[in-house]
């Protein structure tokens, strides 16, 4: 570990050499920044990982079954386990996908599950990302570089190798591929995650494509190549649903593939992740994930949610209004909403306003207990300081199996008072070591 710290500069130079960057828009222009890397890894023991792995697999399997149900028979709505309001009012629910079963029956192939570890030692799920979770490329490339800079560390610690992500991704794509090549579909060079798109294409042996490289003919997707057009069997797309097909979704989209939906509907191409997954990673639906696990799998959830209340239910509403000053309130409405509010930081008047808003539109809010989570050490200059950090675990689901990548993206906030650990907010990342014993 000390060796990792000593080699911080070398590692950063290596990261610069490989252009490990993410893009941000500042004052309307595009800049690329190096993603700050902290050399002190997060370490997860084998025993702890075993639980995490089982819990994550369980959760993602249940979420996939939920999606299959929602775009199919909707049993879970019919018997009232999930109120239909939470589905039909969700901006991520796409009725255009009703009745379409994706190749292999998989909806969320690449799931990014965000967790934090509480001071009580338990892991809590913060949110599920089932649309286009990003970030796997950073720990993936960092590991290779760290092994180079600090070979001793890796000789003396039994750390599970995480450099197989490209193969895992490829295996996932191959398992649902309907016949043809695999492509990674990027909106282009000026996307925040372009580095990742191109790196994952290389690592998984897929072709990197932009919209002008692809077209749909006779309900099949093709890649324009100098050797004639090639059929695409699986498309790992890094573009949001609404921009993917201007003839089905947002008509103004210039970065989509016209009539892609017709190929998908015919079962002629696998789309990773499937369209319409937003209904399952909605902040409101989060509350129901433990119920889904019991409902679809008949199992008790292995990993916990942060304790969550839905003002939609009268009982929860009363609790929320009574304890508003110590809860976190999240606005489920996507845009133009209140965002995330910490009750403890609101003035009296703001609390009253929030109460009125909750009473007016209870479905729009969820409230959670504030989790006191464990801080992680990071290096600030030569000083070791403690900062908030989360873990994004990557779970890959193919036609046959669900695999948890033995790694993950640990993001930390640089601002000591901030709970937000987003890369675009100036945070950084560290490697995540899963010990093999």
């Amino acid at each position: 570990m000390d060796s990792m710290i000593r080699h911080k500069e070398q590692i950063n130079r290596q990261l610069a050499r490989y252009g490990v960057k993410f893009g941000i828009y500042k004052n309307g222009t595009f800049h690329e920044r190096l993603f700050p890397y902290d050399p002190i890894p997060r370490i997860i023991t084998a025993k702890e990982w075993q639980t995490l792995e089982q819990g994550l697999r369980q959760r993602v399997n249940a979420l996939n079954l939920f999606l299959k149900d929602i775009y199919g028979p909707k049993r879970i709505l019919a018997d009232g386990t999930v109120p239909e309001d939470f589905v039909y009012r969700s901006p991520g629910y796409l009725p255009q996908c009703q009745g379409i079963t994706p190749p292999g029956g998989v909806y969320s192939h690449i799931s990014g599950i965000d967790l934090v570890k509480g001071k009580d030692g338990a892991w809590y799920i913060l949110e599920d990302n089932l649309r286009i979770p990003s970030g796997a490329s950073y720990p993936l490339i960092a590991r290779g570089l760290c092994r180079r800079c600090s070979p001793d560390t890796f000789r003396h610690n039994d750390i599970l190798d995480n450099r197989n992500y490209g193969q895992l991704l490829r295996r996932t794509m191959d398992s649902v591929n309907t016949g043809g090549i695999n492509v990674v579909f990027t909106p282009g060079r000026y996307n925040a995650a372009y580095f990742e798109h191109s790196y994952l294409a290389e690592q998984s042996g897929a072709a990197l494509a932009e919209s002008s490289d692809l077209y749909v003919r006779d309900c099949a997707l093709y890649y324009r190549s100098t050797h004639g057009d090639q059929r695409v069997g699986a498309i790992y797309r890094r573009v949001s649903d609404e921009y993917m097909d201007p003839l089905t979704f947002e008509p103004q989209s210039l970065i989509g593939i016209p009539n892609l939906m017709s190929a998908y509907r015919s079962g002629n191409v696998a789309v990773l992740n499937a369209f319409g997954n937003g209904v399952a990673d909605d902040k409101g639906i989060y509350y129901f994930v433990p119920k889904m696990i019991r409902y679809y799998l008949g199992e008790e959830p292995i990993l916990r949610n942060a304790p969550t209340y839905l003002p939609f239910y009268a009982e929860d509403c009363k609790y929320v209004l009574d304890h508003l000053d110590c809860l976190v309130v999240k606005d489920v409405a996507e845009a133009g909403g209140y965002g995330v509010l910490f009750g403890s930081k609101l003035t009296r008047q703001q609390l009253l306003d929030l109460k009125a808003a909750i009473l007016d539109q209870p479905r729009r809010f969820i409230a959670q207990e504030v989790i006191d989570f464990q801080d992680l050490p990071i290096l600030e200059g030569d000083q070791q300081v403690e900062r908030k950090a989360d873990l994004r675990a990557f779970v890959l689901t193919g036609a046959e199996e669900t695999v948890v990548w033995p790694s993950g993206l640990t993001r930390f906030s640089r601002d000591p008072d901030s709970f937000i650990v987003n890369s675009s907010q100036g945070g950084g990342f560290k490697d995540t070591w899963i010990l093999s014993h």
């Binding site: 252009g19 090549i181 191109s198 790196y199 042996g205 490289d213 100098t226």
Partner: protein, 223 residues
Amino acid sequence: MDTITLSKQNRLFWLGRYSERVHTSIQLMMEFYDSLLDGSGMDYQAFCRKMGIPCVYDSGEDFCRRYLFDEESQYSIVSAVEAMLGNGMVLRETISSQTLAYLQMAHSAMEMASRSESPMVELQWVLDDIMAFRGSFDDAVEEESARNITKTGGMVERISLMLRLERHPERVEHELRKLLNRLYKTDLTPDPAALKTITDRALDGVAVDRIALLSSVECLFHI
């Protein structure tokens, strides 16, 4: 992945042109810089005229500085480095991360040079990184036609600069032959009229006016 799209052809071609432009121009600038030391100076106005770029420079020193490092100018070498890296970035899975790293390093070296009091030392790194890029590119890009597109782009750029700047006229014929040799190994479709002019000049020794030849080289590919 050994299939390339039409848009990738374009990027491969320009990757070749920009890497050659950076390499040749930096060598030229090193000569200029050196001549400034003796006070012999250099005719930067003639240079701008021949290159067909606006001469907005106050002095030889100003020219050396800004032609190299002015990020605002589309004609500067630093802009060419940016374009070289940009084309490389969108070809990662074709040229490999290993190869792209050399372009990234050339880009970083250029940045260092722009901040340095003795930029020529750092510029040497840019040249080294481009040479390493070429080696790595040859090694990593399996598909021959893709490899040859970039090399064809490089040849086009080299000949274009030779003709514009009237340097090494005795080598033009040789370089043209190399270009023809390359382009037959690609899937590119050359402009027939331009190809004829070049073939006449290279293989049959037909006399062609320099400017006409330059325009044929520049118009050889519509990409």
